[in-house]
């Protein structure tokens, strides 16, 4: 299989997953904002920060109010991580590998991009936001399902699965980061709301029911962090997603180096002591470290399979 084709499929999957998870994150944060006591000021900018978009944001916007921050994450093509940039990236990558994916997948990705283009503006406003984000999430899920259910699970699919799950693990870690910023503060006013707000976080990854079935205890911060970080069965938990990356890479040829990277980050996630992560700074620092290790895993995948040169 050609390196270029592998790279495009991998990125197609990452972009689809990124669009979906950005939608989930904005949704969670918007709910959070609605449920927060009036006395607590929520910083919309912190959501931009967790996506690593500070510089781009400051370059284009004066005020970091709700509208600007949401617009930046949904519709702004100058933000490489926005939903629209992701959809456009996904579309371009699948357009150039149309022969390898089922034709319905190309059609769905194309339609999703066109849907986003027509509706992103409306999704920025408070009123249209929920409908827009739900539609994005469900269409991304549809594409993921289409690929899983109609494409041979060959090397091409291994790259799709690796890309999707690495992106998912990364985005789940950013969602936890957002939660930490909002909820782990020592603010006395927050106490009565706290558990309710953690439920929101779980709901944003469609994880509330699974949490209830598998954790079987009332929702609290430490348990939610543990669930989203270390659960091996829940598909959007970081440990599970990293396990998926690992098993996809295990199918590929010449995989020693990337496998070593993915095993290391997975071990760090599973070995983490959650009780030491219950302060915003500590959680943030830990997640930062994990994100860096995931970025290294990506770099190793790219070096190993996508960028072969004369020396190889």
């Amino acid at each position: 299989m050609l390196s270029r084709v592998a790279e495009r499929l991998y990125w197609m999957a990452r972009y689809i997953e990124r669009a979906e998870n950005t939608a989930r994150m904005v949704m969670a944060f918007s709910h959070l904002a609605l449920d927060m006591p009036r006395s607590v000021q929520l910083s919309w900018k912190s959501m931009v920060s967790t996506t690593g978009g500070d510089a781009a944001f400051d370059h284009h916007y004066q005020r970091d109010d709700e509208r600007n921050c949401v617009k930046f994450l949904l519709a702004d093509l100058d933000n490489p991580g926005s939903i629209m940039s992701s959809l456009s990236g996904a579309r371009e990558n699948v357009r150039t590998t149309r022969d390898l994916v089922p034709s319905e997948a190309w059609e769905s990705v194309n339609e999703l991009y066109l849907f986003g283009k027509a509706n992103a503006e409306a999704g920025v406003g408070k009123r249209g936001r929920y409908a827009f984000l739900s539609e994005i999430i469900s269409r991304c899920q549809q594409i993921t399902g289409l690929l899983a259910g109609t494409m041979s699970h060959d090397h091409a699919y291994d790259f799709i699965r690796a890309g999707r799950n690495l992106e998912r693990a990364d985005m789940s870690s950013r969602l936890l980061d957002v939660a930490g910023i909002g909820l782990l503060s020592k603010d006395e006013d927050m106490q009565p709301f706290e558990n309710l707000l953690w439920i929101n976080i779980l709901k944003s990854v469609s994880g509330f029911q699974m949490y209830r079935q598998h954790v079987r205890r009332r929702v609290n911060g430490a348990l939610v962090i543990q669930f989203l970080l270390q659960d091996k069965q829940f598909p959007r938990a970081i440990a599970h997603a990293l396990g998926e990356v690992e098993s996809s890479l295990a199918n590929l040829p010449r995989n020693e180096l990337p496998l070593r990277f993915i095993a290391q980050v997975k071990r760090h996630v599973l070995d983490a002591k959650v009780e030491t992560l219950l302060k915003p700074e500590e959680l943030h620092q830990f997640l930062d470290q994990i994100q860096m290790e995931m970025a290294e895993t990506h770099a190793s995948i790219a070096d190993n399979w996508f960028r072969l040169d004369r020396a190889a």
Partner: protein
């Protein structure tokens, strides 16, 4: 109300299916009476079925427009064009003869240049050729063949004579549409395939693969053959991807390949670098290798020409093969055939005036309103003047162009190109057609059974290019004697 052949009138043009209103040609009789048996509704249903099949099979071509590239569904007419097998056998011989002579000519030009020394082919024409590549001098490709895949355009004049209008020796396209047209027609008129013996066309991809594999510099059972495409924005990308799939070859872009320090070509795969033996390149010469040609080319592979010159990789068609498909060289093809093969051409050339010769130029300038003027190195019907249909001002512009650069222009009489029945708004009307058969030359020479019939869908139009309102039809070579 069904089709009434008596009211179908080709207006004095030679028609491929009928000899005069109400009288179908022998090979077309089964088809015409079958069509007459269908009601308007049934015909409409067949047309809708064809359109549906085209969308479903994803047959597209790309048009360059202001708003970016657009994939359009391939315009297809369901009524096939029929050629009797007996006539076709002669055409096939003629095409083989022509390509054999052209390959001998190219090989001679890049080596001894005997034809120039013997003054059969003028030195000046060679000196001014835009497609002669210095980089190819002294090379002897496998089997002495340079143009492995050739698409020659044939047209039929009023009296029924078939002429070669031009030879495409660089990167001729259209063969995938020939194959797809047959698939669509089989779905639309399955009954007819039972009653006719129609020569199959489906072997082409395997013949192409075998020919390409035979060029491999390494004697392997499974040489690595790849198709090199400029990418998805190329108008023929559909075909590149189609042929790669049918041959089971990788479809690569320039960035997928690299030339190693051993001057061999490798492709970047997830398993590591893999040696490539044969490249069916659908990229023009000048973009093949930024080290040898256009340094700005992003499409090519640095060092590719070096690898080819050393014989470490085969390129089809060979770089420089285009020297023989320039429209001025065309005018010399009858002489070329006689020179190398000592035979008379089986298929005639269209009479051609070469503006480089003063007397012929004078004739052209005097008769601009009767002639078709073509630039030597354009394809796709661009930059042409169709004299009888042009305005006074357009003719004056062309007169200037010719005087400025006479070597770049040739002129031909406007042929009364044949017509064939075509479905227009629910009834049959005559439309002009040409035919592009494809010839493969390696150790052996194969010609497609028929080829791609292109049809000018606009009434009275002679322009058959898909980029300019042309469509296509299935072409049946029909055995009437068995």
């Amino acid at each position: 109300m069904s089709i009434d052949w008596k009211s179908y009138d080709p207006n004095g043009f030679y028609d491929e299916l009928i000899s005069s209103p109400g009288y179908p040609r022998a090979a077309a009789r089964t088809l015409t009476s079958y069509l007459r048996s269908l009601s308007d509704e049934e015909i409409h249903e067949r047309k809708a079925a064809a359109e549906h099949a085209i969308v479903e099979m994803g047959i597209t071509f790309t048009v360059y427009t202001e708003g970016g590239n657009i994939d359009r569904a391939w315009p297809f007419d369901i009524i096939p064009r029929i050629i009797p097998r007996k006539e076709w056998m002669r055409v096939e011989e003629g095409l083989k003869q022509r390509v054999t002579a052209l390959n001998l000519f190219i090989n001679d030009l890049y080596n001894e240049q005997k034809i120039v020394k013997d003054k059969v082919f003028p030195k000046e024409v060679l000196a001014q050729s835009k497609n002669f590549r210095e980089q190819c001098v002294g090379i002897q490709p496998a089997h002495g063949v340079w143009a492995h895949i050739c698409g020659s355009d044939l047209v039929r004049d009023k009296d029924g004579t078939l002429y070669v209008l031009e030879d495409n020796l660089r990167v001729p396209s259209g063969v995938s549409y020939m194959l797809e047209n047959r698939q669509v027609t089989k779905r639309v008129f399955p009954e007819l395939f039972e009653n006719y013996s129609i020569l199959p066309v489906d072997e082409y991809p395997s013949q192409l693969f075998d020919m390409l594999a035979s060029l491999s510099p390494r004697p392997l059972d499974y040489p690595e053959v790849v198709v090199l495409t400029p990418g998805i924005y190329n108008s023929a990308y559909f075909e590149h991807s189609f042929l790669a799939q049918r041959m089971g070859a990788e479809l690569v872009e320039g960035s997928d390949l690299l030339v190693g320090e051993d001057d061999c070509v490798y492709m970047r795969t997830i398993g590591g670098l893999e040696r490539v033996d044969v490249i069916y390149r659908r990229v023009d010469d000048l973009f093949l290798d930024p080290e040898a040609f256009n340094p700005d080319s992003m499409l090519g592979v640095p060092g590719l020409m070096r690898a080819w010159r050393k014989g470490n990789v085969a390129l089809a068609n060979a770089p420089g093969a285009g020297v023989a498909d320039d429209k001025v060289v065309y005018a010399f093809v009858p002489e070329i055939i006689r020179y190398y093969l000592d035979q008379d051409p089986i298929i005639p050339n269209v009479p051609t005036y070469r503006c480089m010769y003063p007397d012929e130029r004078e004739h052209v300038l005097k008769h601009l309103d009767e002639l078709v003027i073509k630039p030597a190195n354009e394809s796709g019907g661009y930059g042409m003047l169709i004299g009888p249909h042009a305005s006074k001002r357009q003719r004056a512009e062309f007169a200037d162009l010719i005087k400025k650069d006479p070597r770049n222009y040739i002129a031909q009489p406007t042929l009364a190109i044949s017509t064939t029945p075509t479905l227009c708004d629910g009834h049959l009307e005559p439309r002009h057609v040409d035919l592009r058969p494809f010839i493969l030359q390696g150790v052996r020479t194969d010609v497609t059974a028929g080829g791609l019939t292109r049809v000018a869908l606009r009434k009275g139009s002679l322009v058959v290019n898909s980029s300019q309102g042309g469509g296509s039809k299935d072409t049946w070579i029909v055995d009437t004697e068995s």
